[in-house]
Symmetry: C2
Subunit: 284 residues, 2 copies
């Protein structure tokens, strides 16, 4: 997905929020915005939003001097989400269509997003609300068809905490004899899941965990490692979590299923849905 | 009120919206954002938001080449609001406290605001909704007290269309033997009311209409004309409409009553209310 002009005010908003989360002075926060402003004339709208997001969050890290300002919050998300795990398992086990329920729960986990700032925390009620929601886009039949022919699945993670919800879906996929490679970011960016988060949430016990080699808040192939690209080319199917991964991969021509909650008007317009919608979208 | 860092993303948002309303190409719209970006490192947070807004909208006019891009929309607002006039009069005449009802209607008119972008149009339902609302801040007793001792009132207008709602309140004030000077902007900025709007809506028949001499989307005394400042210094009481005028005058130490609807989180925090609240606030 390309970047829209509407993304520019949003990048300033994200940069400000990130600077505040890094707990630096107001002067430093203003410096972050001033530094971002210098990039504006050179921003290419042909780039996808996470490609620009990568620059934004790099500048924030450079100026604030904080390499991983959300580390504590990520740990907290992981802990809260893990405390939900037994309850989430019950929700799947009591469902008529366990796979569908697990897909929905994986998307419910996508409410944990610091970049868009509305969900610094999440509760059981948030999860219940998502479970009650109808999908905005629901390519479930296509997903089940694609699963039939897939042996190995590349699962692109989004945020810390959300990882526990991914585990729920991954456990259902394993029951269907799928082999899962769980892909995390290489370096800290916002609250995106890293290897340590995947391990803390127990993913390494059930799947191979690899990094994509980048610090992009999404997946941009040109910034990914050779190891990741090898997996990417050979995999049968990709499950991509979150809006950032969608923004980076929506134009790719291999079988990807995007699972996310729509967090802004620009993406809502792009996919033809509404802000807040939950999406299971095939790119084919 | 000072400018907060949160205002910076919002200025980009406003500039983009203004450029779009000027119906220029995407390239020109991006140029507007690039030009605004150049101002960011020099922006003083000690300035009030309308002082920066003045720069923002000047840049938009320079780059788009459109002096008054919202002229048609302003005319339309005036016409729609005028068509409501008989109904608004009835609402006042049937009220137990006619002055209070007129104050509330004057604030209801403040839903017409292109800068914040959510209300390009307004309906009778919007007005009914405001009439049903409780005030977030309601210094009505103080307002009535202040009115008792006031002979001449300076009434600072906000937007075109809204002028008709101001007329409703002004007509009630005239019944209380007050003399009204109605103050509009000197040059086009967003959809702020100009002399032509005041005249179209019939204010010139019941009050003296003067310009404040500036093109600020609010009232910043240092940019106002000598004529306005003379009125300002001599007046008994000021009624100030809209968030922009509040932002510019909230720190002044003369009797001002601010009537507005809270349109952003920054102002909500500043006055201690919520976005969407309707406010009648004394600055003393």
């Amino acid at each position: 997905m390309r970047t829209y002009l509407d993304c520019i005010p949003c990048f300033f908003d994200q940069a400000l929020r990130a600077a505040r989360m890094a707990k630096v002075s107001q002067k430093k926060q203003k410096e972050v915005l001033g530094r971002l402003a210098k990039e504006v004339p050179n921003l290419s709208l042909e780039s996808s939003p996470p490609e620009i997001g990568r620059i934004v969050y790099r500048r924030v890290r450079e100026i604030t001097g904080k390499k991983d300002p959300l580390k504590e919050l990520k740990n907290r998300s992981n802990r809260i989400a893990l405390s939900f795990y037994p309850d989430l398992k019950k929700k799947v086990n009591f469902a008529t269509d366990k796979l569908e329920r697990a897909v929905k729960l994986a998307i419910a986990g996508n409410i944990i997003d610091f970049a868009k700032g509305n969900y610094l925390d999440f509760s059981k009620k948030d999860i219940e609300d998502v479970l009650k929601k109808d999908f905005g886009i629901f390519d479930y039949q296509k997903f089940k068809e694609a699963l039939k022919n897939a042996n190995q699945i590349l699962y692109l993670a989004d945020n810390a905490g959300e990882v526990v919800f991914d585990r729920i879906l991954i456990e259902e996929l394993i029951k269907l004899n799928k082999k899962i490679i769980y892909v995390v970011k290489d370096k800290p960016v916002i609250n995106d899941a890293l290897k340590e988060d995947a391990e803390f949430c127990g993913i390494d016990k059930i799947a191979k965990v690899v990094s994509n080699g980048s610090d992009v808040p999404g997946t941009i192939l040109k910034f990914c490692s050779k190891q990741f690209l090898d997996f990417y080319k050979k995999t049968d199917l990709i499950i991509s979590k979150g809006q950032g991964n969608f923004e980076g991969l929506s134009d790719e021509k291999i079988p990807i299923f995007f699972l996310f909650r729509v967090k802004c008007r620009v993406v809502a317009n792009d996919v033809g849905s509404k802000v807040g919608d939950i999406i299971l979208k095939s790119n084919l």
